[in-house]
Structure formats: C-alpha cells, structure tokens
C-alpha cells in the first residue's frame, strides 16, 4: 500500500516499522504515521480519563478572588458567559467554544468512535465522526486556556488575594489526558481498522 506525504505529495511505499517509532517523509520530514502498540486502545483510555476530569472541572471553582472581605469565584464557563453579558458576544462564543464545547466534543467523539471499534463494531456514522474530530481538534484549546488562567492568577496576585480552586487541577489533568490521547492516535491505524470492519 502506498501513501502520499500530506505536506509535499511525495509517494512512498508503505513500510513496516517497529513499535514506538514514526514514519517520516523522506523529502520534507513530515510525520506520515506513528506506530504505537495498541494505539487505539490507549487513545480510548485517555479519552475516557479526559471526560471524567472534564466533569470534575465543572463542579468546583477555578480561581478564588478575595478583596477587602469580599470573595468571588469563577467556574469553567463563567468567562465566556461574562463576555456574552457585557456585549462582546463574538468573544463569548469563541471562548465558550474553544475552552468548553470543543474539548468536550473532541473527547466524546473519540469515545464514540473508538468504543464500538474496541468491540468490533462500526461507529454510527464513522466518516462524519472522524471528519468532525479532525476539524475540531485545533479549536479545542484547553491547554492554552490553562496558561491563560495562570497569567490571570499572576496578574491578580499583584493587588488582591487569589487562591486556586479544585477545578484548575481537574482542567490540568483533562489537558494532559487529551494531549496523550492525541499522541497515541494514529489516523492510518484508525482508517485501516474501519476498512477491516466494513
């Protein structure tokens, strides 16, 4: 089976490589595929882990802000809602999508694709599910959101007392799980598995 480099179009004969290694394009160096042992199982495991932490991230506050005896805490979606309330609705939608909806959808899509495959069944609409997953991926910005929270934390620390809430730890765990899920996800393995079942 041949494959074309997605970044320079060079055709390669498909080669078998040992587990834990990646295949790179001979000409431009782009990653063609990664060969992980039990790639899809590992991705599924991390996606489920990510979903659990996503739920936990919604229960507790992210940061707690104290000033002159007043206390204010924020939760995961509060920033987006505050943008919506103050008239900056494009920013509200963007932040809600990038920090809440897209990460949740990405994790749900991963589970809904990989769980049936695990039991040798086809997902409901595999083509649409995988396409949506791949196009949503760059917009799921939970990892960038975490850095944004840290910057806010440092900035506020200058003039008030700020504490860390339980959700921040959950979000960090969710980000780690999501990053690892994508590290182990190999598109080629995924499509080959689907082709086998069809």
């Amino acid at each position: 089976m041949r494959l074309a480099c997605p970044e320079c179009d060079l055709l390669h004969e498909s080669m078998e490589i040992t587990y834990g290694h990646s295949g790179y394009c001979q000409r431009c160096g782009a990653v063609l595929f990664r060969n992980h042992k039990n790639s899809l199982d590992k991705t599924l495991a991390f996606a489920i882990t990510g979903l659990v932490f996503f739920l936990l991230a919604n229960i507790f506050p992210i940061l707690v802000f104290k000033m002159n005896g007043n206390t204010e805490a924020n939760q995961l979606a509060d920033g987006a809602l505050e943008f919506l309330n103050s008239g900056y609705w494009p920013l509200g939608i963007l932040v809600l999508f990038a920090s809440v909806i897209a990460p949740l959808l990405v994790l749900c899509l991963l589970v809904s694709i990989l769980l049936p495959l695990k039991y040798n069944r086809l997902p409901v609409i595999p083509e649409l599910q995988i396409r949506t997953l791949l196009s949503l991926r760059p917009w799921a910005m939970a990892e960038i959101f975490v850095i944004g929270i840290m910057v806010a934390f440092v900035k506020l620390g200058d003039f008030a007392e700020v504490g860390i809430g339980g959700s921040l730890i959950s979000i960090i765990c969710m980000v780690l799980a999501m990053v690892l899920a994508f590290v182990f996800l190999d598109r080629r393995t995924l499509w080959q598995r689907l082709d086998q079942l069809k």
Partner: protein, 213 residues
Amino acid sequence: MRGLLPITAKNSGILACETCHKLIVCDTVSEKGATCPRCKRAIHVRKKNSLNRTWALLVAALVLYIPANLFPIMTLISFGRESRETILSGIYQLFLSDQWVIAIVVLLASVFVPIFKIAALAFLVISVQMGLTWRPVFRARLYRFVEWIGRWSMIDIFMISVLIALVKLKALATIEAGPGALAFAAVVILTMYASKTFDPRLMWDRLEGEIDE
C-alpha cells in the same frame, strides 16, 4: 527508509485525500467535484485558490493588528479609578511587578507570534509565487512551526475571560473587556485560517518546475 518513489501523487495521476490520506487513482487529475470514497469529503489535487485565500486572510489580519494594539483589551475599575490596559501595557505591568517568566510568555504569545506568523506566511506565499527553490526543507519546517504555534496567541483572550468573570466586586474592583480584545481575537483566528488555507505542497511543485496551481 526504503522503497522511495521519486514521484509525487500529482504527477502519477493520483489524488490524495486530505482528511483520511487515501490515494485515489484518477484518469483526469483535475477532475471537478470528486469525493473520497472512504471519508466522503471533496478532494482536490491541491487546496483551492490556496495563495489568494492566504493573501486575503493575511491582509485582513495585518489590518486588524493595528486596532488590536491601539485599543485597550481590558479596563480595571477600582475605587472609582479607571485604568485601561492594552496588550503592550499589560506586558509592561508584568515586567514592573517582576513576573519575568509570565511577562516573556505573554510577550511571545501576544506580540511576537502574530507578527512572526504573518511575516512567515507572507514569505512562504511569495516564495511560491516567485518560484523560489531556496531551502525547501527549511520552508517546510517553517510552515509546520507556524501551524503549530498559531493557537497559542489565544492566551491573552483566555486571561481576560478569567479576569472579567472573577473581578466583579462593583465599586471595589471590576474588570471589563475592551474593544482591543475583539480585534486581537480576530487576528488570531484569521492567521489560523491563513495557515490552514496555504498548501505546502505548492512549494514542492515549484521545485519540479510546475507553474500551474
């Protein structure tokens, strides 16, 4: 790595699906309205109108970069005093309060990354349009880096979203978003799309002496 063919999919009459990477043999490579038999998505030999679209998005991003830096991204109202903060003054504040690490992270993400992205993509598009054959592997790496780094500019937008949700103690202290944030978010999104519409395969086509897009 063995088994290398010295030919590309395009010049051997094969379409490669961008979504699932399936190879489709075609009699006429420029076939219109073809869809991938595996993932059902429209397939093209090269991304449609790649260079024009990238240019348009880059110019739009460059224009919006001006209000993004001139207008305040947020306003702090504390004890009746208003202090407006732009992207640059926010970074300056961080330096003043000796938060060097965070200040450098924000400086990189909010100032250098957008400028670098616009400049790098403009260079890549121009290099294709002029038919440059200069250091293709370097340019391929540059493109990969630009694609990866772009999303990180969103740090400032998320920071504002956290601050406005957290600091709303009426007269005591309130933080409100400013119009600069809107322009800045638009810059980030436009440059993300600009790097998405650029087709890196065009750089390699020029090496093979192909001029048509």
